[in-house]
């Protein structure tokens, strides 16, 4: 039997006061999927950072734009796809932050993107030039957690 991927989604306006709603949506889905509380907290923070970047960089604080958050659950894979229609923003094109240098020179650029990569198993960006951006955040359920779930 082939397992079907389960997908749920939510769309919010591009305002930081919607971040809590996004976090609640993601944490409930991650918890139901069987992640430990530590993993749930890490996934939620990564999604928060992605949405904050969209509000700040893609929409440049315009409050009336849309952010779509889709969660796809398939076997042991939990993927959060976050889509916007704002200005193209490609963090992969940016130099990775040199944390040691930042600390020495008291700078903190790129911390949100750095945390996303640190907290998730896979982070990918897709762009349609001038139209939309999509970031995919993936976390795998460990074998131990899968067994507990069963």
């Amino acid at each position: 039997m082939v397992a079907m991927a389960k997908k749920i989604s939510k769309t919010v306006l591009s305002r930081t006061d919607h971040l809590l709603e996004v976090r609640d949506f993601v944490s409930e889905a991650a918890r139901q999927f069987g992640f430990s509380e530590e993993d749930v907290a890490n996934i939620v923070l990564a999604v928060d950072e992605a949405c904050t970047n969209i509000i700040k960089h893609a929409y440049q604080y315009a409050p009336d734009k849309e952010i779509n958050i889709a969660i796809v659950r398939n076997n042991g894979t939990f993927e959060v796809k976050i889509k916007d229609n704002g200005k193209n923003f490609n963090p992969d094109a940016l130099k990775r932050p040199d944390l040691q240098r930042n600390l020495t020179h008291h700078r903190r650029g790129g911390l949100g993107v750095y945390l996303m990569r640190k907290l998730m198993d896979k982070v990918e960006y897709n762009f349609e030039a001038g139209h939309s951006n999509e970031v995919s955040l993936v976390k795998y359920l460990s074998k131990k957690q899968s067994l507990i779930k069963k």
Partner: protein
Amino acid sequence: MFELTITEDGQIHLSGRLDASQAESAKKEFDKVTLSAVVNFKDLDYISSAGLGILFAAQKRLKDAGQGLKLINMNQHIRDVFRYARFDLIFEIE
């Protein structure tokens, strides 16, 4: 919801969630801190890089003036986030 209060013993007590939606008000409160202080995280449930940035800026300003923040009572997740960001190297964390 995020709240910063100064307790009777002079500690800065944080509570609630310090994300991008609360960053501006948190910055205003931390801008008022001019001397070394203990920041109590006991009732802080959540912090994102927006909140880390506020603390980072406050610590930089205070260190430049020969002062500094000491952070206490973090929950395990927030402690991990500080470690990932290597902020454990610029703050005294107890």
